[in-house]
C-alpha cells in the first residue's frame, strides 16, 4: 500500500509539512484564517539536529501496537490506515506509551491525534506530501 516515506537526505527543515498538516486538519478553507497567530499542533513533526532534519509521522504499521493497546477501541486500522475515533478516545495516552516512533500526540481537543493520511479531511491525499518542496516526503508504494 501507499505509505508516507521520508528521506532525510532531501529534508530542508523548512517545516512547511507541519504547516500544511495543521492547515489540512484545521477544517478551515484558508490557511491564513486557520494558522494566523496560533501555535500549530501538527501531526507530522520535524526533528532537527546538527544540520540533519526529517519529518516524522505515523508509519501506519502493519502490526500497530497503538491499535492493539488502545483501551477504548478508538484506534482502528482499516485498509492499512490507522485512524482515531476521537469521540471514543478518553485521552489515556496508552497509545503514546506504545508507539515506537512517537507519532501520536495529544490533540488540542483533549483526545489524541495522529496522521490519518488526510483521508478524513478535505485534502484527499496527504497535505504534507503535497506541501513538501523537495520530495523529502513521498506517498508511494515501496
Amino acid at each position: 500500500m501507499k505509505r508516507i516515506y521520508v528521506n532525510e537526505k532531501w529534508c530542508l527543515g523548512c517545516h512547511l509539512c507541519e504547516y500544511y498538516c495543521a492547515f489540512a486538519n484545521s477544517g478551515k478553507n484558508d490557511m491564513v484564517k486557520a494558522l494566523k497567530n496560533i501555535t500549530i499542533n501538527p501531526r507530522i513533526r520535524i526533528e532537527e539536529h546538527n544540520n540533519v532534519s526529517f519529518a516524522v509521522s505515523c508509519r501506519h504499521c502493519e502490526e500497530p501496537l497503538c491499535v492493539k493497546s488502545c483501551i477504548t477501541g478508538a484506534l482502528t486500522i482499516k485498509d492499512g490506515v490507522i485512524s482515531v475515533n476521537s469521540d471514543k478516545c478518553v485521552g489515556c495516552y496508552t497509545c503514546i506509551l506504545s508507539c515506537p516512533y512517537g507519532c501520536i500526540s495529544p490533540s488540542d481537543q483533549g483526545a489524541i491525534q495522529k496522521c490519518e493520511l488526510c483521508v478524513k479531511n478535505a485534502g484527499g491525499s496527504p497535505a504534507c506530501v503535497k506541501g513538501c518542496p523537495n520530495k523529502a516526503i513521498e506517498w508511494v508504494e515501496r
Partner: protein, 409 residues
C-alpha cells in the same frame, strides 16, 4: 475448527481477531458471565467522570460478533472445563464442545478480611461496569467517600467521582501512592497534584475497625464516611484451569504461545502469568494492552498460525486531573533523572539497555523509550545523550531511520 473463549474483554477480543487473521471460517463461541457487549473495563472511571458513556465504552462496535462470525453467550457462567470430553460445562445450559479453548477469565477485586466490614452499608469494589453503576447510584454531592487503596484503581475511582461528592479520603497501608509504578519522587509529585484537587490521603495506615459509617484506623484516627470503596488489589480467576489440572502459580502458567499446561487450552489476560522481559521473572502483568496481545497470540496459535508473546513488561499510561504519567519496565538499575518545571523523568538502564522509565507531566513520544526496552536496544548503538534529553528518532543511526521512515528494507 471449533474455538471456545471464556471471557469477553480485551484478551477474548484479541483472541477472536487473532483467530480470524488465520482462520476465517472456524466456529467461535464467546462465553461470559457479564451480560454486556464487550466493553473496556478501565473506562469505568472515565464513565463516572463523564468522559465517556456506556455506548462509547464498547470495546468493539455493535456488529463485532456478527462481523467476526462469533456466537456470543453473554451472562452465562462456566462451571467446569472437562478436558476428557473437551467441553466446558455451563450453569443452566448444555455443555459446549471445543477443539481449542481460551481461558480469559480475568481477575476480581480482592477484599481482605476487615473487622466490622459487614456493618458498612454502602461498600463497593471498582472493577466492572456494574461496580461503577452501583457506585454511581450510591453517591451524591453530600457523600463522604472513603477509598481503601492508593493504587491505580483507587485513585482512578477517586478522580472519577471527585466532582460528584463532598469529600474523598484515601487510606493505604503503604507510605506512598502508586508504589507499584512510581518511585518516591514520582509518588510525591502525583500525590501533591491529587491533593491539590481536594483529595485527602492517609498513608502508612489501615482500617482496624469499621462500624457502619465510621472507620477507625490502626493509628487511632477516625474517619466518618458515607460510601466505602475497597480497592486494595485484584486476584486472578484461575479456578477453572486449576480444577482441570492445569498449572497455576499466582496466575495461570502460560508459555510464549499462551498455552497452559493443558492440551488445547490457552489462557490470556489478567488471569495469567507471563514473562516480564525487564526482570526475567514470571509475573502477572494485568494490563489491557498485554491482555489483548496475549489473546491475539493465543488466537493465532490456536488457528495454526505463528506468533510469540515474548515482549511483555509492565507499562502504564495514566493520568489524574490532567497530570499524565507514563511508566514502563522495572527500576532496578542505574537511574538518570531529569526534572524540569512540572515534569519529571527517570530513565533506568542496566547492561547497556534501557529497562524502565517514568515520565510525569511531559510524556510526549514516550513510546520511543518503550520500544528501546521492548527491543532491548543496545544503548551504545544510539546517541543516548540525545535520547535522554527527549525521545527522538534523531538518536538512531541514519540507516535505522532509513528503515523506519524511508522504507529501506
Amino acid at each position: 475448527m471449533n474455538y471456545v473463549i471464556i471471557g469477553n474483554s480485551a484478551a477474548a477480543i484479541g483472541c477472536v481477531e487473532g483467530i480470524r487473521q488465520v482462520d476465517k471460517k472456524g466456529k467461535i463461541t464467546i462465553i461470559s458471565d457479564e451480560p454486556h457487549h464487550t466493553y473496556s473495563r478501565p473506562l469505568i472511571s472515565y464513565l463516572l467522570l463523564g468522559k465517556t458513556d456506556e455506548e462509547r465504552m464498547k470495546y468493539r462496535s455493535d456488529s463485532f460478533y456478527e462481523d467476526k462470525n462469533v456466537t456470543a453467550m453473554l451472562g452465562v457462567t462456566v462451571t467446569k472445563i472437562d478436558t476428557d470430553k473437551r467441553c466446558v460445562e455451563l450453569e443452566g445450559e448444555k455443555p459446549v464442545k471445543y477443539d481449542r479453548l481460551l481461558v480469559a477469565t480475568g481477575s476480581r477485586a480482592f477484599i481482605p478480611p476487615m473487622e466490622g466490614l459487614d456493618t458498612v452499608d454502602k461498600k463497593f469494589t471498582f472493577m466492572k461496569l456494574d461496580d461503577a453503576k452501583a457506585l454511581e447510584d450510591a453517591i451524591n454531592e453530600n457523600s463522604r467517600v472513603l477509598i481503601i487503596g492508593a493504587g491505580l484503581i483507587g485513585l482512578k475511582c477517586a478522580e472519577g467521582i471527585n466532582d460528584r461528592v463532598q469529600s474523598i479520603e484515601v487510606v493505604d497501608l503503604a507510605d506512598r501512592i502508586l508504589p507499584s509504578i512510581l518511585d518516591e519522587t514520582g509518588s510525591a509529585m502525583v500525590q501533591k497534584h491529587i491533593e491539590d484537587n481536594g483529595i485527602k490521603f492517609t498513608l502508612s495506615d489501615s482500617v482496624a475497625q469499621f462500624d457502619k459509617n465510621t472507620a477507625t484506623l490502626k493509628s487511632g484516627k477516625v474517619i466518618e464516611f458515607d460510601v466505602l470503596v475497597i480497592a486494595v488489589g485484584v486476584r486472578p480467576n484461575t479456578q477453572l484451569v486449576a480444577q482441570a489440572g492445569g498449572a497455576v502459580n499466582r496466575g495461570i502458567v502460560t508459555d510464549d504461545r499462551c498455552r497452559t499446561t493443558l492440551k488445547n487450552i490457552y489462557s490470556a489476560g489478567d488471569c495469567t502469568e507471563s514473562l516480564d522481559i525487564t526482570t526475567g521473572q514470571e509475573r502477572i502483568l494485568a494490563l489491557l494492552p498485554n491482555a489483548y496481545m496475549q489473546g491475539e497470540t493465543a488466537g493465532i496459535d490456536m488457528a495454526g498460525g505463528q506468533k510469540l508473546y515474548d515482549k511483555a513488561m509492565p507499562m502504564n499510561a495514566i493520568g489524574f486531573f490532567g497530570l499524565h504519567i507514563i511508566t514502563a519496565g522495572s527500576y532496578n538499575g542505574e537511574a538518570a533523572v531529569i526534572q524540569s518545571g512540572n515534569s519529571y523523568k527517570k530513565l533506568v538502564t542496566a547492561d547497556d539497555t534501557l529497562i524502565g522509565y517514568i515520565m510525569i507531566g511531559d510524556v510526549a513520544r514516550a513510546g520511543i523509550y518503550t520500544a528501546l526496552i521492548r527491543e532491548k536496544k543496545p544503548l551504545s548503538s544510539i546517541d543516548f545523550d540525545l535520547i535522554k534529553e527527549k525521545p527522538q528518532l534523531m538518536a538512531f543511526s541514519k540507516r535505522e531511520r532509513a528503515k523506519t521512515l524511508g522504507g529501506l528494507r
